[in-house]
């Protein structure tokens, strides 16, 4: 799958999985959920008072370990990113694309929050 297909896939019809409640998320940091035996990193970003939740695959394709949820959050030119805790590559939370390498990406999943419940689409 190419990076472009990766984004399209995430926008297509998906099956929603209830993964946790909002109180399980950590503001401006990450947690990890096991969804359908896949590890999903969930990030809760508070941007100007508004909370947004993002989900990407937890597997760091460069460090080859399940650690992305432990990375530092930030922004590059306004777009939210997580920095891999191992070697600091940046992944855009909205697309899963890697800033440093054109051919590297992680899957980005759609997220929805209904009341207290957090759903990830796979």
């Amino acid at each position: 799958m190419t990076a472009a297909q990766n984004i399209i896939a995430s926008e297509q019809a998906v099956q929603w999985h209830l993964v946790c409640e909002t109180k399980d998320l950590v503001t401006n940091s990450g947690v990890c959920a096991l969804v359908d035996s896949q590890q999903v990193a969930l990030f809760c970003l508070k941007i100007k008072g508004e909370t947004q939740v993002f989900a990407i695959s937890n597997y760091d394709p460069i460090g080859k370990a399940n650690v992305l949820y432990r990375g530092l959050l930030g922004s590059i030119g306004g777009a939210p990113v997580v920095a891999s805790p191992l070697y600091k590559e940046h992944y855009f939370l909205e697309t899963g694309l890697c800033k440093e390498h054109d051919d590297v990406f992680v899957t980005a999943y759609p997220v929805k929050v209904e009341g207290e419940k957090v759903f990830v689409g796979i």
């Binding site: 947690v31 990890c32 959920a33 432990r70 530092l72 930030g74 191992l86």
Partner: protein, 849 residues
């Protein structure tokens, strides 16, 4: 000859700095040539200018200017250990001692020079050495290891460099000079005297006007040097650095024209008396002069390249001005330092208490600078050199150029320089080159360096280059950025100030008032560290947690497979058998790999994130605290066993190490901090390689600061001597807090010190004499940090909310199956990717615990 239709065979004899520069320049000229380099040493070109850094930890690789791979990429043929013995000028070929033959169209001799060893009886003994090549350095190192006293014969530039090397090797060092003064070529007598005083103050004994007559067997040392005046000096080793002689043997053998006192004669195209043979660098004699500096050698190399490729560059002599730091003493010499020009007049300034001497030599009309001598303070060097080189007319009171902080001194801004002004003489970069680089899109010193190569030679022009670049950028309306990252337009030091003065307690507050965006992995940990240095709150509280970097955020060191290592604090390296047993029990229970660290504690590897709180619960219950191995903070205070047990110890180094570690544990800083305490001068704790080193004396403690092991080793500077314990702690409080307050992010104390304007003397002035009047504040700040200390792991395991964050999954109690171990030497290690694919049966089960 300019036609290069078929590949011209270029053979270069010698691969020193100049020979290499020739190859590099010729390669870059894209001429249709085939280059063969015959290198007499086993190593390719390396940096001889920085040779002495070998003794402060640089490796042969650090000094290398090129690699076989790079030459291969350029298509250059290289033969090492190829000593050329013959040139057959009739048939255009050279022969090596191994009998290899190489044909040339053009031959370039870059054979350099060899050290002159005065013909003194006994000069050929085992520990009589020279200082020229890396092999010489290895020999010096070996000799120094079995010597206590060392003598350098020759008080010139290289001799003093060599003396520095011996000093760093820990020898009682002497310099013996035939002339009545040091550095007679570059300095006048008065300057030489000031330099002598300064160098003697550093513990090197200088003997001038001494002619060595024989080297005999010594009484107290290995050798005895007997001087013409009847005196003698005992020493274990002797290093000759009494000047260089051109390596012109090949020229002599093949009947090229030589100078009366040696050197292969060249014309302004660097051609020898044979139109197919060039000579460049220290083997070449131009206008009856040998040029013993790298910059003129580089110019010769470029001139020869130009001539070979049909250009018209000419060598027209070179400016021999130099600025350098010898054993920390600044020395500069420009142009006619000895007032040899007819009618020359001079101004001098001597400040004996501070050891500063400056002399300005001007023409009889007092319109132009002819030369200058600077000792102890070379801050005026760049300005004076530009006056001298560019014929800039002097201001009304020329003396104002060398008088201290005289308001009348008109600063010669980068703006005042003409475009022809040479900024980097090593690489021949003019101000005009820099301006065009900036016009071509360069926006920083780094860009300009990359584009023009300015300041990549000896580096002496770095400050001037920065001035020119900043000035040109400002002229174009480019603001010179000192921002830490895209989210804050401030330096770390400014952010520290803002946090402290405005009482800011969270990142969000700071970002809202002084930044933009969401932050990043640069500014967040930096601000997290600043907040911790100022307030020392629990670092995982909700507002601080998102700021913590990879290791801090889980209070452990993340390993390549996503597991963590656990390092409890072992103050001073002292540990009870009960605690050792507990560590062993915990390691066995959680199947952890154990290793002793360099900081005298025990590292437990392979802990899964979800096990960390349980592991620490057991460790804390057994009396351990967090070791902050994951933090930019105080790490360890290493100690030797000290006077309690050791037959030689003079103070209780273990007790002091424990006290220091307990005082500063939890202090967060721009980077990690390591201490060591040695109980006597044998220095078994290696304190001089630490940020803070303490060495016991009969009277108390000697304090060393800003040392470093690791990637770029630096010996710590002796800061104060024979301190009582109370003063010792005061000084350490102040040094550390001043560092925390003013350093850049991720700047170790060693680099901080190297960049501190005024260096060690300034730091001493601030800490010992309270020059800035901030000592009270620094101490209060440290007391506040010490009082606010908490064991982060204890706080974490006691709080159920904090513990929750160590779950691997928020919705499952499963483990990460990607973490797999195999057994090696009786312990676990992470499985490789190949092993993971190969088969699971060999793995140690995850559920072992």
């Amino acid at each position: 000859m300019t036609s290069l239709d078929s590949k011209t065979q270029i053979v270069v004899v010698g691969n020193g700095m100049v020979g290499h520069h020739f190859v590099e320049q010729l390669h870059q000229s894209d001429a249709n040539v085939e280059i063969t380099v015959l290198c007499g040493e086993s190593r390719l070109a390396y940096d001889r200018v920085y040779l002495s850094s070998f003794f402060s930890g640089a490796s042969a690789d650090d000094l290398a200017l090129t690699t076989p791979a790079q030459y291969a990429e350029w298509g250059v043929n290289v033969v090492t250990n190829a000593l050329v013995t013959d040139i057959d000028r009739d048939h255009n070929k050279v022969t090596t001692s191994e009998g290899q033959v190489f044909n040339y169209d053009k031959l370039v001799l870059a054979t350099g020079s060899y050290p002159f060893v005065p013909p003194i009886p006994g000069n050929d003994q085992e520990h009589c050495l020279v200082y020229r090549t890396i092999d010489d350095l290895l020999a010096i190192e070996a000799s120094a290891a079995v010597s206590k006293v060392g003598v350098v014969v020759g008080g010139g530039l290289l001799g003093l460099e060599a003396a520095n090397a011996l000093k760093q090797a820990g020898l009682d060092t002497h310099v013996v000079e035939f002339a009545p003064q040091l550095m007679a070529v570059q300095l006048d007598q008065a300057g030489g005297n000031v330099l002598k005083d300064k160098i003697e103050a550093l513990g090197v004994t200088v003997h001038t006007q001494k002619a060595t007559q024989t080297i005999e067997a010594g009484d107290t040392c290995r050798y005895k040097m007997v001087f013409a005046d009847g005196t003698a000096l005992e020493t274990d080793m002797i290093l000759f650095s009494a000047g260089i002689r051109p390596s012109d043997q090949l020229g002599r053998k093949s009947a090229l024209t030589l100078g009366e006192r040696g050197g292969i004669v060249i014309d302004s195209h660097c051609l020898t008396s044979d139109p197919n043979i060039y000579a460049v660098g220290e083997c070449a004699l131009w206008d009856n002069k040998i040029f013993g500096l790298v910059a003129p050698g580089y110019t010769m190399a470029r001139t020869a390249v130009s001539h070979i490729t049909g250009g018209d560059a000419e060598f027209a002599g070179a400016d021999m001005s130099t600025k350098l730091k010898l054993m920390g003493v600044e020395v500069g010499s420009i142009g006619d330092a000895h007032e040899r020009t007819a009618g020359a007049l001079s101004y001098t300034y001597l400040n004996q208490p501070e050891g500063v001497y400056k002399k300005l030599v001007v023409d009889s009309e007092q319109k132009y600078v002819l030369g200058a001598v600077l000792v102890g303070d070379t801050s005026d060097y760049d300005t004076l050199l530009q006056y001298a080189l560019n014929g800039i007319e002097l201001p009304e009171h020329p003396e104002s150029l060398i008088l201290p902080s005289s308001d009348a001194a008109p600063a010669l801004g980068a703006d005042a320089l003409p475009d022809t002004a040479s900024i980097c003489s090593c690489l021949n970069v003019t101000k005009g080159d820099i301006v065009s680089a900036i016009e071509g899109g360069c926006c920083s010193v780094g860009d300009v360096k990359g584009e023009t190569k300015a300041s990549t030679g000896c580096g002496g022009c770095a400050a001037l280059l920065k001035n020119v670049v900043d000035c040109e950028l400002e002229k174009r309306g480019v603001e010179v950025s000192k921002a830490i990252c895209e989210h804050f337009n401030h330096t770390r030091q400014e952010l520290f100030h803002i946090v402290k003065v405005n009482g800011i307690r969270t990142f969000d507050e700071l970002l809202e008032q002084h930044g933009e965006g969401l932050g990043c992995e640069i500014c967040k940990p930096a601000v997290g560290s600043i907040l911790a240095s100022v307030y020392n709150d629990y670092i995982l509280k909700a507002s601080h947690l998102p700021l913590q970097d990879t290791n801090d955020i889980y209070l452990g060191n993340m390993q390549k497979d996503g597991t963590y290592s656990v390092v409890p604090r072992v103050p001073g390296g002292e540990i009870t058998p009960e605690k050792l047993i507990l560590l062993g029990e915990v390691a066995k229970e959680y199947n952890l790999y154990t290793k002793i660290t360099g900081g005298q504690r025990i590292d437990l590897f392979g802990a899964r994130v979800e096990h960390l709180p349980d592991i620490w619960e057991k460790l804390v219950a057994g009396g351990f605290e967090t070791g902050h191995a994951y933090a930019k903070a105080l790490r360890t205070v290493k100690s030797c066993v000290g006077s309690t047990w050791c037959r030689y110890g003079v103070q209780d180094s273990v007790g002091t190490a424990i006290d220091l570690e307990n005082r500063y544990k939890g202090l967060r800083a721009p980077h990690k901090i390591k201490f060591a305490v040695s109980g006597c001068t044998r220095e078994c704790a290696e304190a001089q390689s630490k940020d803070i080193g303490v060495i016991a004396t009969e009277q108390g403690w000697n304090l060393y600061v800003c040392g470093n092991g690791g990637m770029k080793p630096r010996h710590a500077d002796l800061f104060a001597t024979d301190l009582d314990t109370e003063t010792l702690i005061k000084y350490i409080d102040r040094v550390l807090m001043f560092y925390v307050k003013t350093a850049d992010r991720l700047q170790r104390t060693s680099v901080w010190m190297d960049n501190l304007e005024g260096g060690l003397a300034y730091l001493q002035d601030v800490v010992i004499n309270d020059a800035l009047g901030i000592n009270g504040e620094l101490e209060a700040q440290m007391d506040a940090v010490v009082d606010a200390y908490q064991c982060e792991w204890k706080t974490t395991i006691e709080d159920p909310e904090s513990r929750k964050r160590f779950r691997q999954f928020v919705n499952s109690s499963a483990s990460d199956t990607n973490i797999q171990f195999v057994s090696e030497r009786g312990q676990v290690r992470p499985a490789t990717e190949a092993e993971k694919v190969a088969g699971k049966e060999q793995f140690i089960p995850v559920s072992m615990v």
